[in-house]
């Protein structure tokens, strides 16, 4: 065959093969696009988790469980089923989260339960760069995706996952106290080795051994109890007054406070 003919023949074969590849890719394309979207959502949630951990855990707790007196839980049934109705939001929850995070809150909607009642403690700050906050819009969308990922769990559709934090032995006051420490959100601000990593308030490691000498006239137990119920009575050097919620005396029962004190007294 002449070169021209050879080239025409092979060229035709190549064009047919190329067409075949494009057709095969075209058949796979809807599936590929769907897969990509699922993976993209997964990556968005991963990214949102890291943004949440850095920016949001101070007030909403390390697991988004909320901190009594400061900020609500973002993983309970109420948040996923009734919150929108309460504030009169017409759209979806994810958009609501994006909106609240972006602009923050000027006035608390539940000053009786969370921060914002006295005017001294801030309500939800503005997070978007557009309004002077630290986060880009894509980071805010990622946080919303992360919070939305609590939904099946919050609605009880899947069983609770056991967290890594050591489980408390609920039969002793100390064990119950440890559970209170996590439930009340103390862990968000205070570090206890092996249990929590909060960095707003003082580290509580070795608290029991130094509590008795901190304020003269108060035993270790009295000092700890006072610090929980009336945090402003004595403020550890280097920390600002008013950081710690003043409401634990009313939100926790007498028994819970007793358990909590018993637990904190074990921190030698």
């Amino acid at each position: 065959m002449k070169r021209v003919q050879l080239e025409i023949v092979f060229g035709t074969i190549l064009v047919l093969l190329s067409t075949a590849i494009v057709v095969i890719l075209g058949i796979q394309e809807p599936q590929r696009m769907a897969d990509f979207e699922v993976q993209q959502r997964a990556e968005l949630i991963e990214f949102g988790a890291s943004v949440f951990t850095i920016n949001c855990t101070r007030c909403h707790g390390s697991q988004a469980q909320g901190i009594t007196g400061i900020a609500p839980s973002l993983r309970d049934e109420y948040f996923f089923t009734q919150r929108l109705e309460e504030v009169g939001w017409q759209g979806g929850l994810e958009n609501y989260i994006v909106s609240v995070v972006t602009t923050g809150r000027q006035v608390s909607t539940r000053p009786d339960q969370y921060a914002g009642a006295t005017g001294t403690s801030p309500v939800m700050p503005t997070w978007s760069e557009r309004f002077g906050g630290p986060l880009r819009d894509d980071q805010i969308r990622a946080v919303a995706a992360f919070i939305m990922n609590f939904e099946p769990y919050a609605l009880g559709q899947i069983p609770t996952v056991e967290p890594l934090v050591p489980l408390a032995d609920e039969s002793t006051p100390e064990g119950r106290g440890q559970a209170v420490f996590v439930q009340a959100g103390c862990n968000a601000c205070h570090t206890i080795s092996g249990l929590s990593t909060g960095n707003i308030g003082p580290v509580l490691d070795g608290l029991a051994s130094r509590a008795g000498d901190t304020v003269s006239g108060l035993t270790a137990e009295e000092y700890i109890r006072q610090s929980i119920v009336e945090p402003s009575a004595y403020v550890v050097e280097g920390f600002a007054d008013g950081l710690m919620p003043q409401t634990f005396g009313t939100t926790l029962t007498e028994e819970q406070i007793n358990d909590l004190v018993a637990f904190l007294l074990t921190l030698q």
Binding site: K2, Q5, E7, I45, E46, F47, T53, R136, D138, I158
Partner: protein, 577 residues
Amino acid sequence: MLNALRRRLNIPPRDQWRAAIAKIIDDRVRIITAGLSIRELRAVMRGDPPTEKPNPRYKVITTSFVAHLRPRYYPKASTWFTHTYRLGFFTTFFFIVEVITGVILMVYYIPFPDQAYESILVIESNVFFGELLRDLHRLGAEAMVIFSWLHLLRTYFTGSYKGPRTFTWLTGVILLLITAWLSFTGYLLPWDQLAYWAVTVGTSITESGPVVGPALNLLMRGAPDIGTGGLLRFYLQHVILFPLLAIALISIHYYKVSREHSISLPAVVEETERTPDQKKEDNRRIDLIPDLLSHEVFLVSLGIFIMLVILYFRWFASPLETHANPQQTPLDTKAPWYFWWLQGLLKIDPAAIIEGMVNPIFETFRLGFRLELSKLLNSKFIMGLIVPPTLIIILLAIPYIDRNPSRLARKRPFAIMWGIAWVFIVIALSFMGTPQFGIETPPATRIIQDLAPEEGEGALRLIPYQELQQGIYVVGEEYGPDLCPTLSYQPDPEGDVNNVVVGCPNLTAVFREFSEKLLAAEAEGELPDLNANITVEQVQYNLKRVTPQVEWTDPESGETKTYEHTYYLHQDRPHEE
């Protein structure tokens, strides 16, 4: 009766119909092909000689606009495959691929920092063939860079830049620069970490320039940092200014070849004695139609086929890292590989080298002073702003520097040696420019980053989600052969039920590697009092947090230091099998 009607309507008798229709079709074909009849077209496709005289195939070249840009014929010798390797042809081919895919991508891309990255995600997830288009565009860009460099090397080694082709060489070098700038401006557009930091580092070179440096930097970035203005500037350069410049220069470059001096003949043909038979064969005309055209159509189909095969088997995929974050500088910024030589240059500090050579001499003679060049010479300025433009000027001036009239390789040994030397220098500089070269990372950071780099995969991210059993795995502690003996899972939930993995072999392997590297570093004294672990926690029902953590005593200051990095791994995360 019927015949009377026919005469009246001026319809020819039946036996003339076929001829009349054939003539109508033939006329149409002649119009479409700009001069070839059906018979001629058939002869062209079969490689037969022309059917009419004068040769109608030459008529096409005068009547068709597209064909008139092309030469009528080339002498056989200048079409030898081993002479040109079709490198210029393929460079143009990739340019056209870039234009076509680029125009389609422009429909979906939004050049605005808040939306750019997202629009890339939309192209990948929501546009039919979006990923294919993006991959074609990226692959075409890299291929265009490779082929234009190879084309330059071929021209250099065959001596084709010599007169009368000196000006063509000049336009070629400028085209190479345009290609490089096109790829660099395109690099920023996805607005991911890779893009943002490569371009931030790249543009910062201009900052070191005297007087106009900061202004130039501002001009390129649009603001002190690359933002909305900078992205728009890069985008407009990428889609309008430089494509237009490229088209203009390609036109000049090609016009010179097709109208003025043609493709160079191989030096052996021009400068050595050829037998009459060889001469006749060398000068045999290779016509545009059909030989060149069929060859070029074949090459195009070959080029498209190879690109599609590469993409089908995923031997190449355009990278996409996380969203650009001006607040977080990645551990290593990666310039595109074809700029590694420049990055390698920037790692050289000429002032320090001269000081290192001169100061010991001063000390031996006790001259009482030290040379402190670093205060006078900014290495970024010299290696970033003085050396590369000098190299470009030399490259441009090669035809004017090299006055040797011969093009035969054996008669220009110096030029050939220089060429080879430069290829090796560029390769060496590129090696120096790789992100890892010559950059000292603290051991703990390095070990964790090896396990799981900030961007991309890495062993840690490849652990199947099911294997991530909650727990704190402490380095140095004795574990059994597997970290999670009670675990077992089905890697493919919809597949074979008997296909069950027992334990967590991947997690165990990663933990072992992590431990071995750290314990080795501890033994070498880099990480004394080592205290390290990998913590795996469940964050949400389908999300885990993995934190490798290292604590050690700094050998120099005696302080306790820690390094940790947190990774979130979702069940549905992309997973290369």
